[in-house]
């Protein structure tokens, strides 16, 4: 009936792009598929018909109002599932294989639902609770027995249909199975989801509850299982750059899934994911899911330190020849072994390697071996290299630490400034504001409107130069070329002048070394060492801050990783307890 009334309007809806219009009781057009009300109003042609339509409108208006407030019935875990779906789709567009979604993440998620007793088990949590409430209120509770199957049906279909996934609006096309909740009005007034209130109150021992940050832990676990070429820091950087949905993911939930009240506390997120947190969550989750040993990380895997070191050497513009040295360090310390690298959650003490941080730490150790980084030797070596390069312009240039520092310092400062600016300008708030209660709702919507209007006003005053378009996702953050003097590429420079021949083999000119941590903390606190910047040389500080910015981690955790690598290299020194470790050390290079 509505459709007939509004056939003359052929425009697309601004919200959902559908062409199906109805007329509200004030005579304004509204979209029947998303209930978006427009400013345009229907012109009344036939005045004689007015009394009749008015009556019709009143009766219709009441019905419509209720429809607007109540959407589909849905559960919190379905919300998380939608987020995971969005994220995994994004990963697929980044080039990750389709098995990640269909096999790995799907089975992890299934296992999670089972372990947390939400589905795929005999007596799911929800049913138990519901049964008791249903018994009290209404004698007939027979509908509830069939619920777990319904849910699992949906989950399976949503995950397994790989053909349909290519269509972005899969979820709007495929409505959720509507589960009737006879007493939902009484027990769940404060959330759009059916179990929002209950979910946020649930505190069962031994159960890892789903949170939005944990969706990233799920993604990382599946990436790790597939041995994909994405490290945790890459994943978080993609989140930050907006390539993987994380903040305000609920915006893309189907229109009929209403979020408010408790859902806000569960799904709205106002923080960037932090490396350490996600890392911890990943281990927690893997242990909770009781996952078996992950596929071995072998020499040909991207996550192997040899390959990651190469990648990061390229990233930070260091000579390729250093790769030889990093490989040696890896060999010496034994951290290239599959047993060491492979994640095994069932093992006694579940621990996964921070592949990216570790690779960077190896590079720092090599830098210390070559240049000592004591604010002295690196500069005198640079003087030698500079003189040589001036004399022999045609030869392969020697690596000049000072020049490298200048180039890197400039690039990193620029990048950091841009990054800080972008962070300061980030718009957190969703187009679809969340409110805590229905009383709160008009206020929240009004506030949103005010902000939008004010923003519109100021956006006309912003510098007209277009904001740099969204960067294409890349594993590399820098791009070095030989042509641009500000972006000089050092990849081809040689380490001659830093190494010297000694009999058959090459050794480093520098024969000294200092340890980043003299003594490790043995108490029960979580950290093994601390990083007090002022204790260290300027060049060490620079290197640490440069690399920790690349990975977006804290300087202290990188320092800790460096110390741990050194602990492996200089095991003997550390074992001579009490005795001050001697500073002398000679290393041979083949």
């Amino acid at each position: 009936m509505d459709l007939e009334e509004a056939k003359e309007l052929k425009e697309r809806c601004t919200q959902c792009a559908a062409v199906s219009w109805g007329v509200t009781d004030e005579g304004k057009y509204y979209c029947t598929s998303c209930h978006n009300v427009t400013e345009r109003s229907k012109e009344v042609v036939d005045t004689a018909a007015i009394p009749n339509t008015k009556i019709q409108a009143i009766s219709r208006g009441l019905k419509r109002k209720r429809k607007l407030e109540k959407g589909w019935d849905w559960y919190v875990c379905e919300g998380f599932q939608l987020i995971l779906c969005q994220q995994v789709e994004a990963l697929k567009t980044l080039g990750v294989g389709p098995e990640l979604k269909n096999d790995v993440l799907h089975s992890f998620w299934k296992r999670y639902l089972q372990k947390s007793k939400q589905a795929y088990c005999k007596n799911p949590i929800r049913t138990r609770r519901r049964k008791t409430t249903a018994l009290e209120d209404t004698p007939s509770h027979s509908d509830w027995d069939s619920e777990p199957e319904l849910i699992s049906d949906f989950i399976c279909s949503s995950f397994a249909e790989s053909e349909a996934e290519s269509q972005p609006d899969l979820h709007t096309q495929k409505p959720f199975p509507i589960i009737k909740a006879p007493n939902s009005g009484i027990a769940y007034t404060c959330s759009g989801s059916l179990d929002g209130v209950e979910y946020s109150q649930r505190k069962e021992k031994g159960i890892v509850k789903m949170t939005v940050p944990r969706t990233l832990a799920f993604c990382y676990l599946s990436l790790l299982w597939q041995r994909e070429a994405i490290t945790l820091s890459d994943l978080l950087r993609f989140v930050e750059e907006g390539h993987i949905p994380y903040i305000n993911t609920f915006e893309h939930f189907p229109e009929e899934m209403k979020l408010y009240g408790r859902d806000k506390l569960i799904f709205a997120i106002e923080s960037w994911p932090i490396y350490e947190d996600i890392y911890k969550n990943t281990i927690e989750l893997a242990t909770f899911l009781d996952l078996p040993r992950f596929p071995d990380i072998t020499k040909d895997c991207y996550l192997h330190p040899d390959i990651l070191c190469m990648k990061y050497l390229m990233e930070v513009n260091l000579p390729d020849e250093m790769h030889n040295l990093t490989c040696q360090v890896v060999k010496m310390t034994g951290i290239g072994e599959a047993d060491f690298l492979t994640f095994d959650p069932i093992a006694k003490k579940a621990k996964t390697v921070k592949y990216d941080v570790q690779a960077i730490a190896i590079i720092i150790v090599v830098l210390k071996l070559l240049f000592l980084l004591n604010d002295n030797l690196e500069w005198s070596l640079s003087d030698i290299a500079e003189k040589y390069n001036e004399k022999n312009k045609k030869d392969k240039p020697w690596f000049d630490f000072r020049k490298w520092y200048q180039v890197m310092k400039k690039s990193i400062d620029e990048k950091k400034q841009k990054w800080e600016e972008a962070r300061a300008k980030y718009l957190w708030k969703s187009e679809k504001p969340l409110y805590l209660s229905s009383y709160n709702r008009p206020v929240v919507y009004k506030r949103r409107e005010v902000v939008v209007n004010l923003q519109k006003q100021f956006s006309t005053l912003i510098d007209s130069t277009p904001v740099a378009e969204k960067q294409n996702p890349s594993s590399f953050q820098f791009n070095w070329t030989e042509e641009n003097p500000n972006r000089t590429c050092f990849h081809g420079h040689s380490l001659q002048g830093i190494l010297k021949k000694k009999g058959q083999s090459l050794t480093t000119m520098n024969s000294l070394y200092w340890l980043s941590t003299q003594k490790f903390c043995k108490s029960h606190c979580k950290h093994v060492t601390t990083y007090e910047e002022s204790y260290f040389s300027q060049s060490y500080q620079f290197v640490i801050s440069l690399f920790s910015f690349l990975l977006r981690i804290k300087t202290s955790s990188l320092h800790e990783e460096v110390s741990l690598i050194e602990k492996r290299i200089f095991k003997a020194k550390y074992n001579q307890s009490k005795k001050k470790p001697s500073k002398k050390k000679i290393r041979k290079v083949k």
Binding site: E270, Y426, K429, V451, Q455, F458, T460
Partner: protein, 447 residues
Amino acid sequence: MSDFSELMRPSTEGDRMETCVLSGTGMHFPWLQKYLNSVLTERKKEKAFAQTTTECLSLMQQALLKHQWQQAAGYMHSYLQVLEDWDVIKRQAAPEIIWKLGSEILFYHPKSSVETFNTFADRMKNIGVMNYLKISLQHALYLLHHGMLEDASRNLHQAETWRYGDKSSSQEVLINLVQAYKGLLQYYTWSKKKMELSQLDEEDYAYNTASQSMLNHSWKTSINLCALIQIPGVWDPFVKSYVEMLDFYGDRDGAREVLTNYAYDDKFPSNPNAHVYLYNFLKKEKAPREKLISVLKILYQIVPSHKLMFEFYRLLRKSEKEEDQKLGLEVLFGVLDFAGCTRNITAWKYLAKHLRQTLAGNRLAWIQELWDSRKNWWPNFHFSFFWAKSDWKEEKTLACEKALVAGILLGKGCRYFRYISKQDHQVLKKKMKRMKKSVKKFSIVKP
């Protein structure tokens, strides 16, 4: 130690604490609890959203300092989201910050216009109740700045009639201020009309209508102004225009009352201008000398270097009372204490003359009393060798007066006097001679 442990115990009843303070056995730190609370809340991890807004605010302030209006507008664009902060305290504090910085941006931004400013102000007025009046007032000032008097007046009128339950009563001062500014605008039209009137002939038939409309205007204006100036505060422009109108219509008593109240009411903050206005009014009225002296006495206590002090001095000189003569000397010393007056020839002339007369009248004690507190620093401050040279070079008469004073206060041996007296000058020969003689006769430092 026992006091401290008592302190740490959470106190439930406030009176226990009070007796504690009264008996003097314990200490009471009302700020301690607050401090402890803030320590606790600071430990909570700050959300990235909060970091974003804080960082954005500081970058916006930096951009404003560097006059980078476009960048500042860019930061404002994202700072606006603070209005949707879940933290109530931050959300409520935001409108004021946004208004202040936003109006600054819109005031200077090259692409901004009066229209943009108006829409911005109208939007900001309606966020939260507490800002309406303040923003309306500042909006009006902006319009005034752009010469849009009528719009400003309309704006003030709107603000004046705004009411919001009991919130409006707590902002009474602001309402009064709004009214007073409206009154000031009306005063402006009134004084324009006064100008027109003064050009008209009294016989002219237009004269009557013009004076009638003036009268209407002044009546409205005075209502608007008088409410504000009852409240303690500094209201110079309002008081001035109000008095001018009262005076014009012959209500001298009313005007005097307003000014006296403004100057003498203890509840009002100390304000030199209040006394200046009152003095000028009384002077015009030809009030008795005692009255004028009493007004300026207070001004002297607030601003001893005020330019009216010479007038004050002359009034004191005319008085027959001894204490007034002494006060006169004090006033001169007081004026010369200020670096801005070191080269004031009138002051030195008066001082030299007065010193001579005082000493002739055997009032050495007066001078000694005033000199005691200054003898440590005046020699370097006024009578250094450097001053002697530069004074002689630039203003010979000043140098002579100063040398006389220096000779009297410091004796013949002082550098300033010696330098000046050694100079040779045709025209000033007589004067120099007199100076030397006076010094010999009156110097308080006997060789």
